[in-house]
Amino acid sequence: MTAPPSSKRPVWRDASRDPDALARAAAEFFEEGYEYPIASKILADTPVELQAEARGKLLPRRTVPDGCYVWASYLIWLERVLDVVDLQLAAAEVEGLMILRRERNRFESGHPPCPRCGMPNALHLLRCRECMAEIGK
Protein backbone atom coordinates (compact mmCIF):
# COMPACT_ATOMS: atom_id res chain seq x y z
CA MET A 1 0.00 0.00 0.00
CA THR A 2 1.45 3.33 -0.97
CA ALA A 3 1.19 6.42 1.15
CA PRO A 4 -1.30 9.05 -0.09
CA PRO A 5 0.30 12.07 -1.70
CA SER A 6 1.09 14.84 0.75
CA SER A 7 -1.43 17.66 0.71
CA LYS A 8 1.32 20.04 1.93
CA ARG A 9 3.37 20.23 -1.26
CA PRO A 10 5.19 23.55 -1.44
CA VAL A 11 3.73 25.93 -3.99
CA TRP A 12 6.04 28.33 -5.79
CA ARG A 13 4.61 31.75 -6.51
CA ASP A 14 5.64 34.57 -8.79
CA ALA A 15 6.43 37.43 -6.39
CA SER A 16 4.88 39.92 -8.82
CA ARG A 17 1.55 38.08 -8.60
CA ASP A 18 1.13 37.94 -4.83
CA PRO A 19 -0.71 41.14 -3.85
CA ASP A 20 -0.92 40.31 -0.13
CA ALA A 21 2.84 39.69 0.12
CA LEU A 22 3.57 42.86 -1.87
CA ALA A 23 1.37 44.92 0.47
CA ARG A 24 3.29 43.63 3.48
CA ALA A 25 6.65 44.14 1.76
CA ALA A 26 5.73 47.72 0.82
CA ALA A 27 4.52 48.55 4.34
CA GLU A 28 7.70 47.10 5.85
CA PHE A 29 9.82 48.89 3.27
CA PHE A 30 8.39 52.27 4.29
CA GLU A 31 8.88 51.43 7.99
CA GLU A 32 12.49 50.44 7.28
CA GLY A 33 13.06 53.70 5.44
CA TYR A 34 11.70 55.56 8.46
CA GLU A 35 13.87 53.70 10.97
CA TYR A 36 16.99 53.59 8.82
CA PRO A 37 18.46 57.09 9.48
CA ILE A 38 18.62 56.49 13.24
CA ALA A 39 19.63 52.85 12.85
CA SER A 40 22.48 53.78 10.51
CA LYS A 41 23.87 56.29 13.03
CA ILE A 42 23.90 53.59 15.71
CA LEU A 43 25.35 51.01 13.32
CA ALA A 44 28.18 53.37 12.39
CA ASP A 45 29.36 53.20 16.02
CA THR A 46 28.78 49.45 16.35
CA PRO A 47 31.72 47.02 15.96
CA VAL A 48 31.55 45.18 12.62
CA GLU A 49 31.12 41.77 14.25
CA LEU A 50 28.00 42.96 16.10
CA GLN A 51 26.42 44.84 13.21
CA ALA A 52 24.31 41.97 11.83
CA GLU A 53 22.74 41.36 15.22
CA ALA A 54 22.28 45.08 15.84
CA ARG A 55 20.69 45.55 12.43
CA GLY A 56 18.19 42.80 13.29
CA LYS A 57 17.24 44.61 16.49
CA LEU A 58 17.14 48.14 15.11
CA LEU A 59 15.20 47.56 11.91
CA PRO A 60 11.71 46.04 11.64
CA ARG A 61 11.65 42.31 10.98
CA ARG A 62 10.80 41.31 7.43
CA THR A 63 7.83 38.97 7.23
CA VAL A 64 7.67 38.00 3.54
CA PRO A 65 10.31 36.42 1.27
CA ASP A 66 13.02 38.68 -0.17
CA GLY A 67 11.60 38.50 -3.69
CA CYS A 68 8.65 40.65 -2.56
CA TYR A 69 11.04 43.47 -1.54
CA VAL A 70 12.85 43.15 -4.86
CA TRP A 71 9.52 43.58 -6.66
CA ALA A 72 8.56 46.50 -4.39
CA SER A 73 11.91 48.20 -5.19
CA TYR A 74 11.22 47.80 -8.90
CA LEU A 75 7.76 49.34 -8.49
CA ILE A 76 9.21 52.31 -6.58
CA TRP A 77 11.66 52.86 -9.46
CA LEU A 78 8.83 52.51 -12.01
CA GLU A 79 6.64 54.96 -10.08
CA ARG A 80 9.39 57.61 -10.33
CA VAL A 81 9.84 56.95 -14.05
CA LEU A 82 6.11 57.35 -14.63
CA ASP A 83 6.31 60.84 -13.15
CA VAL A 84 8.18 61.94 -16.29
CA VAL A 85 7.29 59.50 -19.10
CA ASP A 86 4.29 57.43 -20.15
CA LEU A 87 4.84 53.71 -20.47
CA GLN A 88 2.44 50.94 -21.33
CA LEU A 89 2.16 48.82 -18.21
CA ALA A 90 1.57 45.14 -17.59
CA ALA A 91 -1.36 44.17 -15.36
CA ALA A 92 0.97 43.06 -12.56
CA GLU A 93 2.69 46.46 -12.63
CA VAL A 94 -0.61 48.38 -12.48
CA GLU A 95 -1.85 46.26 -9.61
CA GLY A 96 1.51 46.60 -7.85
CA LEU A 97 1.56 50.39 -8.23
CA MET A 98 -1.93 50.63 -6.75
CA ILE A 99 -0.88 48.53 -3.76
CA LEU A 100 2.27 50.64 -3.37
CA ARG A 101 0.22 53.86 -3.37
CA ARG A 102 -2.24 52.47 -0.84
CA GLU A 103 0.54 51.38 1.52
CA ARG A 104 2.35 54.72 1.13
CA ASN A 105 -0.85 56.59 1.99
CA ARG A 106 -1.30 54.36 5.01
CA PHE A 107 2.30 54.99 6.12
CA GLU A 108 2.03 58.74 5.61
CA SER A 109 -1.20 58.98 7.59
CA GLY A 110 0.60 57.27 10.48
CA HIS A 111 3.75 59.39 10.03
CA PRO A 112 2.75 62.98 9.28
CA PRO A 113 5.51 65.33 8.09
CA CYS A 114 7.16 67.77 10.48
CA PRO A 115 5.74 71.26 9.76
CA ARG A 116 9.28 72.69 9.90
CA CYS A 117 11.56 70.25 8.03
CA GLY A 118 9.05 67.94 6.35
CA MET A 119 10.51 64.69 7.70
CA PRO A 120 7.98 62.00 8.67
CA ASN A 121 7.40 61.37 12.36
CA ALA A 122 5.36 58.75 14.19
CA LEU A 123 2.00 60.06 15.47
CA HIS A 124 2.93 59.78 19.16
CA LEU A 125 6.08 61.93 18.91
CA LEU A 126 6.00 65.40 20.38
CA ARG A 127 9.26 66.56 18.78
CA CYS A 128 10.59 65.97 15.30
CA ARG A 129 13.26 63.25 15.24
CA GLU A 130 15.22 65.25 12.68
CA CYS A 131 15.06 68.94 13.63
CA MET A 132 13.64 68.60 17.18
CA ALA A 133 10.89 71.13 16.44
CA GLU A 134 7.71 70.70 18.47
CA ILE A 135 5.05 68.85 16.51
CA GLY A 136 1.50 67.73 17.07
CA LYS A 137 0.29 71.07 18.39
Partner: protein, 244 residues
Protein backbone atom coordinates in the same frame (compact mmCIF):
# COMPACT_ATOMS: atom_id res chain seq x y z
CA UNK B 1 40.81 53.70 -32.54
CA UNK B 2 41.43 53.79 -36.30
CA UNK B 3 41.24 50.67 -38.44
CA UNK B 4 45.03 50.67 -38.82
CA UNK B 5 45.57 50.94 -35.07
CA UNK B 6 43.11 48.13 -34.50
CA UNK B 7 44.98 45.92 -36.96
CA UNK B 8 48.25 46.61 -35.10
CA UNK B 9 46.79 45.55 -31.77
CA UNK B 10 46.67 41.85 -30.94
CA UNK B 11 43.01 40.98 -31.34
CA UNK B 12 41.09 38.39 -29.39
CA UNK B 13 40.25 35.65 -31.92
CA UNK B 14 36.63 34.79 -31.09
CA UNK B 15 36.37 31.82 -33.44
CA UNK B 16 39.70 30.16 -32.56
CA UNK B 17 39.63 27.05 -30.34
CA UNK B 18 40.63 27.82 -26.76
CA UNK B 19 43.35 26.06 -24.82
CA UNK B 20 44.05 26.41 -21.12
CA UNK B 21 47.14 25.13 -19.31
CA UNK B 22 47.43 23.96 -15.71
CA UNK B 23 50.68 23.29 -13.92
CA UNK B 24 50.27 20.52 -11.34
CA UNK B 25 53.35 19.22 -9.49
CA UNK B 26 55.63 20.73 -12.17
CA UNK B 27 53.66 18.97 -14.90
CA UNK B 28 52.00 20.95 -17.66
CA UNK B 29 48.47 19.81 -18.41
CA UNK B 30 46.60 21.35 -21.33
CA UNK B 31 42.88 21.45 -21.95
CA UNK B 32 41.49 22.15 -25.42
CA UNK B 33 37.97 23.38 -26.06
CA UNK B 34 35.75 23.76 -29.06
CA UNK B 35 34.18 27.19 -29.46
CA UNK B 36 31.86 27.99 -26.54
CA UNK B 37 28.62 29.06 -28.22
CA UNK B 38 25.78 31.26 -27.00
CA UNK B 39 23.54 28.21 -26.27
CA UNK B 40 26.42 26.76 -24.18
CA UNK B 41 26.62 29.95 -22.14
CA UNK B 42 22.82 30.16 -21.90
CA UNK B 43 22.75 26.67 -20.34
CA UNK B 44 25.48 27.76 -17.93
CA UNK B 45 23.56 30.88 -16.89
CA UNK B 46 20.34 28.88 -16.50
CA UNK B 47 22.16 26.41 -14.27
CA UNK B 48 23.39 28.95 -11.72
CA UNK B 49 21.59 28.66 -8.39
CA UNK B 50 20.94 32.08 -6.88
CA UNK B 51 18.52 32.14 -3.97
CA UNK B 52 17.99 33.34 -0.43
CA UNK B 53 16.73 31.01 2.26
CA UNK B 54 15.31 32.20 5.53
CA UNK B 55 14.72 29.85 8.44
CA UNK B 56 13.40 31.21 11.74
CA UNK B 57 14.27 34.68 10.51
CA UNK B 58 17.93 33.85 9.84
CA UNK B 59 18.87 34.56 6.24
CA UNK B 60 21.28 32.58 4.12
CA UNK B 61 22.34 33.47 0.60
CA UNK B 62 22.98 30.56 -1.73
CA UNK B 63 24.98 31.21 -4.89
CA UNK B 64 26.27 28.10 -6.60
CA UNK B 65 27.72 28.06 -10.08
CA UNK B 66 30.27 25.21 -9.91
CA UNK B 67 27.80 22.55 -11.06
CA UNK B 68 26.83 24.58 -14.12
CA UNK B 69 30.52 25.30 -14.73
CA UNK B 70 31.43 21.60 -14.64
CA UNK B 71 28.65 20.89 -17.15
CA UNK B 72 29.96 23.68 -19.38
CA UNK B 73 33.48 22.24 -19.27
CA UNK B 74 32.22 18.71 -20.02
CA UNK B 75 30.10 19.94 -22.90
CA UNK B 76 32.80 21.98 -24.64
CA UNK B 77 36.04 20.11 -23.82
CA UNK B 78 37.46 18.38 -26.88
CA UNK B 79 40.77 16.96 -25.60
CA UNK B 80 43.36 17.10 -22.81
CA UNK B 81 47.09 16.51 -22.90
CA UNK B 82 49.58 15.66 -20.18
CA UNK B 83 47.46 13.18 -18.20
CA UNK B 84 48.52 9.55 -18.00
CA UNK B 85 45.39 7.90 -19.28
CA UNK B 86 43.80 6.97 -22.54
CA UNK B 87 42.21 10.18 -23.76
CA UNK B 88 40.41 8.32 -26.53
CA UNK B 89 38.35 6.19 -24.11
CA UNK B 90 34.62 6.92 -24.00
CA UNK B 91 34.57 8.12 -20.39
CA UNK B 92 37.86 10.03 -20.29
CA UNK B 93 36.08 13.27 -19.30
CA UNK B 94 34.62 11.59 -16.21
CA UNK B 95 38.14 10.57 -15.14
CA UNK B 96 39.42 14.15 -15.02
CA UNK B 97 39.86 15.58 -11.49
CA UNK B 98 36.91 17.79 -10.56
CA UNK B 99 39.22 20.40 -9.03
CA UNK B 100 41.05 20.72 -12.35
CA UNK B 101 37.72 21.08 -14.16
CA UNK B 102 36.59 23.84 -11.82
CA UNK B 103 39.91 25.69 -12.15
CA UNK B 104 39.81 25.51 -15.95
CA UNK B 105 36.13 26.51 -15.95
CA UNK B 106 36.91 29.60 -13.90
CA UNK B 107 39.46 30.62 -16.55
CA UNK B 108 36.96 29.87 -19.32
CA UNK B 109 34.50 32.37 -17.88
CA UNK B 110 37.15 34.91 -16.79
CA UNK B 111 36.09 38.32 -18.01
CA UNK B 112 35.95 41.51 -15.99
CA UNK B 113 35.06 45.16 -16.46
CA UNK B 114 37.79 47.78 -16.54
CA UNK B 115 37.27 51.29 -15.33
CA UNK B 116 38.95 54.04 -17.29
CA UNK B 117 39.05 57.78 -16.86
CA UNK B 118 37.41 58.44 -20.21
CA UNK B 119 34.35 56.47 -19.06
CA UNK B 120 33.25 59.87 -17.82
CA UNK B 121 33.36 61.47 -21.25
CA UNK B 122 29.76 62.07 -22.29
CA UNK B 123 28.80 61.46 -25.89
CA UNK B 124 26.40 59.63 -28.16
CA UNK B 125 27.79 56.26 -27.07
CA UNK B 126 28.68 54.51 -23.84
CA UNK B 127 31.88 52.49 -23.81
CA UNK B 128 32.31 49.44 -21.59
CA UNK B 129 35.82 48.02 -21.43
CA UNK B 130 36.55 44.42 -20.59
CA UNK B 131 39.63 42.38 -19.74
CA UNK B 132 39.63 38.67 -20.45
CA UNK B 133 41.86 35.65 -20.21
CA UNK B 134 41.19 33.70 -23.36
CA UNK B 135 43.69 31.06 -24.41
CA UNK B 136 47.26 29.98 -23.71
CA UNK B 137 50.25 30.85 -25.86
CA UNK B 138 51.36 27.71 -27.66
CA UNK B 139 55.08 28.23 -26.94
CA UNK B 140 54.98 29.17 -23.26
CA UNK B 141 51.69 27.79 -22.01
CA UNK B 142 50.99 31.14 -20.37
CA UNK B 143 47.50 32.54 -20.62
CA UNK B 144 47.06 35.49 -22.94
CA UNK B 145 45.08 38.26 -21.31
CA UNK B 146 43.38 40.78 -23.55
CA UNK B 147 42.61 44.17 -22.09
CA UNK B 148 40.95 47.26 -23.49
CA UNK B 149 38.22 45.25 -25.18
CA UNK B 150 35.74 47.99 -26.00
CA UNK B 151 31.99 47.49 -26.36
CA UNK B 152 30.43 50.69 -27.66
CA UNK B 153 26.71 50.94 -26.96
CA UNK B 154 23.99 53.34 -28.00
CA UNK B 155 22.26 54.86 -24.97
CA UNK B 156 19.49 52.58 -23.71
CA UNK B 157 15.94 53.86 -23.94
CA UNK B 158 13.76 54.07 -20.87
CA UNK B 159 11.83 51.05 -22.24
CA UNK B 160 15.06 49.05 -22.36
CA UNK B 161 16.01 50.10 -18.82
CA UNK B 162 12.54 49.10 -17.72
CA UNK B 163 12.87 45.73 -19.49
CA UNK B 164 16.15 45.03 -17.67
CA UNK B 165 14.78 46.07 -14.27
CA UNK B 166 11.48 44.26 -14.80
CA UNK B 167 13.07 40.98 -15.89
CA UNK B 168 15.64 40.99 -13.10
CA UNK B 169 13.03 41.80 -10.42
CA UNK B 170 10.73 38.89 -11.18
CA UNK B 171 11.51 36.29 -8.56
CA UNK B 172 9.81 33.07 -7.51
CA UNK B 173 8.97 32.72 -3.85
CA UNK B 174 7.99 29.98 -1.47
CA UNK B 175 6.76 30.18 2.12
CA UNK B 176 6.84 33.19 4.40
CA UNK B 177 9.39 35.76 5.49
CA UNK B 178 10.33 33.70 8.54
CA UNK B 179 10.69 30.45 6.60
CA UNK B 180 10.84 31.36 2.96
CA UNK B 181 12.83 30.94 -0.21
CA UNK B 182 13.39 33.42 -3.01
CA UNK B 183 14.78 32.27 -6.36
CA UNK B 184 16.33 35.07 -8.38
CA UNK B 185 16.22 35.05 -12.18
CA UNK B 186 19.47 35.08 -14.11
CA UNK B 187 20.32 38.57 -15.30
CA UNK B 188 22.47 37.40 -18.18
CA UNK B 189 19.59 36.36 -20.46
CA UNK B 190 17.99 39.79 -20.59
CA UNK B 191 21.47 41.39 -20.69
CA UNK B 192 22.42 39.39 -23.79
CA UNK B 193 19.13 40.29 -25.50
CA UNK B 194 19.62 43.99 -24.80
CA UNK B 195 23.27 43.76 -25.88
CA UNK B 196 22.13 42.72 -29.36
CA UNK B 197 19.73 45.68 -29.47
CA UNK B 198 22.20 48.31 -28.28
CA UNK B 199 25.65 47.36 -29.50
CA UNK B 200 27.10 49.73 -32.08
CA UNK B 201 30.73 48.61 -32.44
CA UNK B 202 33.52 46.77 -30.65
CA UNK B 203 37.31 47.05 -30.55
CA UNK B 204 39.91 44.42 -29.80
CA UNK B 205 38.11 41.40 -31.27
CA UNK B 206 38.60 39.39 -34.45
CA UNK B 207 36.59 36.73 -36.26
CA UNK B 208 37.49 34.88 -39.47
CA UNK B 209 40.93 36.51 -39.29
CA UNK B 210 39.59 40.07 -39.55
CA UNK B 211 38.80 42.75 -36.96
CA UNK B 212 35.19 42.30 -35.88
CA UNK B 213 33.05 45.06 -37.39
CA UNK B 214 29.39 45.49 -38.29
CA UNK B 215 26.44 45.08 -35.96
CA UNK B 216 25.17 41.81 -37.46
CA UNK B 217 28.64 40.25 -37.29
CA UNK B 218 29.07 41.40 -33.68
CA UNK B 219 25.69 39.92 -32.71
CA UNK B 220 26.54 36.55 -34.21
CA UNK B 221 30.26 36.29 -33.37
CA UNK B 222 30.64 37.92 -29.95
CA UNK B 223 31.19 35.56 -27.03
CA UNK B 224 27.98 35.45 -24.97
CA UNK B 225 29.86 35.74 -21.66
CA UNK B 226 31.39 38.99 -22.93
CA UNK B 227 27.96 40.16 -24.13
CA UNK B 228 26.37 39.52 -20.74
CA UNK B 229 29.23 41.08 -18.76
CA UNK B 230 29.32 44.23 -20.89
CA UNK B 231 25.54 44.72 -20.94
CA UNK B 232 25.19 44.17 -17.18
CA UNK B 233 27.83 46.85 -16.63
CA UNK B 234 25.82 49.14 -18.90
CA UNK B 235 22.64 48.68 -16.86
CA UNK B 236 24.08 48.29 -13.35
CA UNK B 237 27.45 50.03 -13.39
CA UNK B 238 29.72 49.14 -10.49
CA UNK B 239 31.08 52.63 -9.98
CA UNK B 240 32.35 54.14 -6.81
CA UNK B 241 30.45 57.40 -6.33
CA UNK B 242 31.41 59.59 -3.39
CA UNK B 243 30.71 63.12 -2.28
CA UNK B 244 34.18 64.66 -1.73
Amino acid sequence: MTETEQQDKVLLPLDAPRSIALRVNQKLLTWHFRRVTQPDWQKFFDGIVNRTLRHNGVEERVFESDTALLELVDRTLSSVHGYDFDATAADWKAALPIQHKVTVGVVLRAVACETAVDDLVLGPHIDVRLTSSWSMEKQTGRMTTYSGLVHRFRHPSIEQMREFNFETSRTRILGTGQDGVTVYPNRQSVAMRLYDQLIDSVEGYAAKGEPLTGIEAIRSEMDAMHKATAAMQLFSPSQSIEIP
